[in-house]
């Protein structure tokens, strides 16, 4: 397909789709709204719990979908052995803090549901890195393992409310508040020291993994899994894009295991986010395992530097009474090489054009040439 006339975001969606299809992912299409119940039952899973609702003709409360994953999980059924691999390009409706109101946001992503093994995890991480590279070569994927984080937080032996604040500090890379909080809660000094180290540990896998292995409280199986996965990506030449960083914390009631977040230079917030969500599957009474990620296309609106210098290539002026046939012919001739043409009586105000021409009888005369 000709992609030259597409906008940056459209080209990006196109490239991502090709990437996901290449690795056997099939497109998942869904409707714009779902029963509100689905979201009400899983509110904490959503990035924002504000939802646009309306009542359908049958009296059911419906919602414009604020999330894609829940719909995909709900639509599937568990099957032995295999994995269901889907990708999507959808619009979600969420509250945006920046807009102080609801916003329509474009999102692409993949979900891999079923007998998820280390290969599926490695493939998902690879697709995440490749998705980022499609946006910009200057990109980074931060990878964390929630089994490590939760083992270290468990070792503190603190209550649920302190635990929530501790996780917030981990997400903020905030060792000073973390220490004060844990000390006030009477946590074990060794456990606090380990957790502080974890918060400040971040960097290339080769640097971070040895430190993690030396940490007794970090579960060996999880550290090993991080090593296996990062080594697999390294073997593909993608290792330089990976960082182990434990500030990536998802809600532990839904996520488990490997979680990650992607950044590209020039965009101030994360543009990709994902991880394993076996716990969400259990909550939705599914026995399969699952992993996936979303690319936040709305974050990329200002990323592309392509600004159009002109609104239109050619403005074709014609006098009232000009033959419609002659005019149509002229428009088609001027646009035959793919350039845009608008026929007008007068030049519209503030319209930026490359050239201005006039139709004189059957002849096109150039009046002004800007580029």
């Amino acid at each position: 397909m000709e992609t030259g006339t597409m906008k940056y975001e459209e080209r990006l969606v196109f490239a991502l789709r090709a990437l996901y299809r290449r690795f056997g992912y099939r497109q998942f299409k869904m409707r714009k709204f779902e029963e509100y119940d689905l979201y009400a039952r899983n509110k904490d899973f959503l990035i924002s719990d504000n939802i646009i609702t309306f009542t359908d003709l049958n009296g059911k409360l419906m919602a414009l979908k604020p999330d894609v994953t829940l719909s995909i999980v709900r639509s599937g059924t568990d099957a032995d052995g295999g994995v269901q691999k889907v990708y999507y390009n959808e619009t979600v409706y969420r509250v945006s803090a920046a807009a102080r109101g609801f916003r329509e946001m474009a999102q692409s992503g993949v979900e891999c549901i079923g007998a998820v093994d280390d290969f599926c995890l490695a493939e998902t991480l690879m697709l995440a890195v490749e998705s980022l590279r499609t946006i910009s070569p200057d990109c980074v994927l931060d990878v964390s393992h929630l089994d490590i984080v939760s083992a270290l937080v468990d070792a503190l032996g603190v209550g649920d409310d302190v635990r929530r604040d501790v996780l917030k500090c981990i997400g903020e890379k905030n060792p000073h508040e973390l220490e004060a909080l844990c000390r006030a809660a009477g946590a074990d000094a060794g456990a606090i020291a380990d957790l502080k180290q974890l918060v400040q540990t971040s960097g290339a896998p080769a640097q971070v993994l040895p430190a993690l292995k030396a940490m007794d409280r970090a579960p060996a199986a999880a550290v090993e899994q991080l090593e296996t996965l990062t080594a697999a990506l390294d073997a593909l030449g993608l290792g330089d894009y990976l960082r182990i960083d434990f500030s990536v914390v998802g809600d532990m009631r839904y996520y488990n295991g490997v979680v990650f977040k992607g950044f590209v230079s020039g965009v101030p917030a994360g543009v990709l986010s994902g991880g394993q969500y076996d716990k969400l599957m259990r909550k939705m009474r599914r026995s399969a395992r699952a992993v996936g990620f979303a690319v936040y296309l709305d974050q990329l609106e200002r990323f592309s530097s392509e600004a159009e210098d002109y609104d239109v290539d050619t403005v074709l002026l014609y006098a009232p009474g000009t033959s419609a046939t002659a005019l149509l012919r002229a428009v088609r001739a001027l646009s035959a090489d793919g350039r845009s043409v608008t026929a007008q009586h007068t030049v519209p105000e503030k319209l930026r054009f490359r050239r201005l021409v006039r139709l004189d009888g059957d002849e096109v005369k150039i009046i002004e040439q800007n580029a």
Binding site: K173, H176, E177, G203, S247, S265
Partner: protein, 213 residues
């Protein structure tokens, strides 16, 4: 690729103090000490760009990536909850977020407490944690006057020395949270300017060592 580190500092006394800490940490920009009205200062040799902004705006500049790092009070971070890394307690600009009331105020728990404050989220969160119903009155300044005029029962505000409170016949009833200046970083900037930001954090941490928390 632009690897200049953009640093937002709060205008005013705290900013001057903080800049001195940055300079001691090896992140100096001598132009900044000149007396003029410029807001942006650059040290091209070190790849640094400093700019002065209103203290309450620092977190906005950092969250949106116009600044890679900045210094903001914990009060602002709690009130606006920006999505940034809070990397270091600089242990300067220390004060407390407090509940203050007229010296003769007696709290009647049967009534909804009227609270005047500039920090509505902090106040709401604090009273929610106590399970107390309150009526929040948002004010933009001179909060101390609210209880005097009967607009509110108490105020939630920053207390440094307590002098303003005393002069208005108010006293601290409870401390909500201690406040100090924090080094914050944009989450994406940290990924791409990690070495510089880590070096800055380490340099500043050395400077604050031994300072009482």
């Amino acid at each position: 690729m632009n690897k200049t580190l953009n640093i937002a500092l709060p205008k005013g006394r705290l900013g001057d103090k903080v800049y001195a800490m940055f300079a001691r940490a090896g992140f100096e920009c001598p132009d900044i000490l000149e007396e003029n009205r410029k807001l942006v200062f650059e040290n091209a040799a070190l790849g640094l760009r400093y700019f002065w902004v209103k203290p309450s705006d620092v977190a906005v500049y950092v969250e949106r990536g116009a600044a890679d790092v900045g210094v903001a009070g914990k009060d602002i971070l709690l009130e606006y909850a920006p999505d940034v890394y809070e990397m270091l307690d600089l242990k300067v600009g220390k004060c407390r977020m407090c509940v203050a009331a007229p010296t003769d105020f007696r709290d009647d728990r049967r009534r909804t407490l009227r609270v005047a404050t500039k920090f509505t989220n902090i106040a709401a969160g604090y009273y929610a944690s106590l399970g107390r119903d309150i009526d929040i009155i948002h004010l933009n300044g001179s909060v101390e006057i609210a209880p005097i005029l009967g607009l509110s029962d108490v105020i939630v505000d920053i207390v440094e020395t307590g002098r303003t409170l005393r002069e208005n016949h108010l006293e601290v009833r409870e401390t909500v949270v201690p406040i100090s200046a924090r080094l914050i970083a944009n989450k994406a900037s940290y990924e791409f300017k990690r070495e510089k930001i880590d070096a800055l954090r380490a340099g500043l941490a050395r400077g604050t060592e031994g300072t009482e928390a």
